[in-house]
Symmetry: C2
Subunit: 267 residues, 2 copies
DNA sequence: TCAAAAGTGTTCTTATTACACCCATGG
DNA sequence: CCATGGGTGTAATAAGAACACTTTTGA
């Protein structure tokens, strides 16, 4: 899992051998001749696969979390890894990322963004696998069980406490987190991580944990409310041992309308 | 060229057939069993390839340009396309993008950034090819001839006047241009498109043509000079039929130093 | 009555915008 | 002497940063 492990180990491939092979393919490409090659010959050029890996972010207990799986097979048996899979031959790339997410969480239609493709030759010990990294944002409250899935086990980890992962997954996680930090200020995607009803303090803590910095309470509230994107529900928290906070929801419709009028979110 | 054309057409692949194949691979991945499969069986799962496509931007005559090649082979024979190639089996992804650039322009060590991977099943008429899109920024003055390369012909096109391209290359170009628009305000990469010595007006026109909007001359100069990233060469233009402008160069060292001190470029 | 988090405005500083005229040069 | 683009400053406005106390609730 996590990464395509399906190919047998690629034989050490000298530069000359591979370049020659590749050049044959290039010539083919140029001329579009399609000679009937012996499949085992061609196969070495195509002995490669692509996978998707999905950094699934959640927010709970004031902390940003990431959903990791524990590998049940070599390589990296027992290590924590990002959920991922090979892309099916008849499957669009984005669909593969959605499938990985759904198999693991049962969730569909969540926020999903492609980030970067990792294609170092030796990133996978068993062969050439390039992987396309996505991140998605889920409401942890919506996530119930791990349905019968490919994962040996799956668990939320605080992003700040993730240890050493399989493959180049630490690098992938870092890259996705950096992207999220950028994106969360440029688009109102933070709400994807919160339940439909939330307090301003929850929202602020969400931003603080993603951006990794403290924000001024009054300035934060002033700014976010001045955008008129939050609908005050005239409800308050219940069962808290202090003054209960007002509940808001993100007004998606108004946002779409503002965008159409040229507004752009910036925090 | 541009996209990998090396594979023979993939037989129409029913959902059931492919899913089954894919699931076999997934099981393999899980268990890491490596049965000795008949290569022609495995091949259908691996009948896919990855390529890189490179949006090479240049700036000349006050306009943003993109270097396109004309396809000499089907599919899309005669159409303009982005330069690209299949990735060699022993080649890192970034290296493939650098190679494509160097084969076409002879240039090395230029600014290159990965943008997005395009992986729709039917984006390539001859088979499953996912392509990783990069853009690079070159100084057109450094670009001399098209060295013996895969391209039938290559030419700079004004970005605003690019017509219909092969494959999904219009979408790739648009995506890279959008990314460039973002990035050029967040990092001092605009200079990559200018010769080492340039005038402030040239720099302003560069930004205007990338961002697609007019900027105020005085405000632009005030802002850019206040960053202290430009070194005034105490030289002026020669051979112009008007008051000659002062020449500047971008001070890369100072920039690195400022970054280390926490400065971040923003325009 | 205490603890804990909610809620609320003002001042200061900094960045952004808008705007018009004289200058140096080559033809 | 004219056409062309080069070069310059100030005032008004808007955005961002800093900052401390009162309120409401449950225990």
């Amino acid at each position: 899992m996590g990464d395509g492990c399906a190919m047998r180990p690629v034989k050490a491939c000298t530069d000359e051998y591979c370049k020659k092979k590749a050049n044959v393919a290039v010539v083919l490409a140029r001329n579009n001749r399609l000679p009937s090659w012996d499949m085992s010959e061609v196969a070495s050029f195509f002995k490669s696969a692509f996978s998707v890996d999905n950094v699934i972010f959640g927010f709970d207990g004031g902390e940003l979390k990431v959903l990791l799986i524990q590998r049940g097979a070599a390589p990296y048996r027992g290590k924590w890894a990002l959920p991922g899979d090979l892309v099916y031959p008849n499957e669009d790339l984005d669909a593969a990322a959605e499938r990985v997410l759904e198999q693991l969480t049962g969730l569909r239609g969540v926020y999903l963004e492609q980030v970067k493709t990792f294609g170092a030759v030796n990133r996978h010990p068993l062969g050439r696998v390039i992987t396309v990294a996505y991140y998605s944002l889920v409401k942890i409250s919506d996530y119930t069980v791990t349905p019968a899935s490919f994962a040996h086990s799956a668990r939320w980890h605080a992003v700040s406490k993730v240890g050493e992962l399989a493959f180049d997954h630490n690098e992938i996680l870092d890259t996705c987190l950096r992207r999220l930090k950028l994106k969360v200020r440029m688009a109102p995607i933070g709400f994807e991580l919160l339940p439909p009803k939330f307090t301003l303090t929850e929202l602020q803590h969400l931003y603080e944990s993603i951006l990794g910095e403290k924000l001024d309470k009054r300035n934060f509230r002033k700014k976010i409310l001045s955008m008129n994107l939050l609908h005050d529900l005239n409800e308050v928290q219940e069962g808290v041992a202090h003054r209960p906070a007002r509940l808001y929801r993100f007004d998606r419709q108004t946002y779409q309308q503002f965008v159409a009028e040229g507004f752009s979110f910036y925090l």
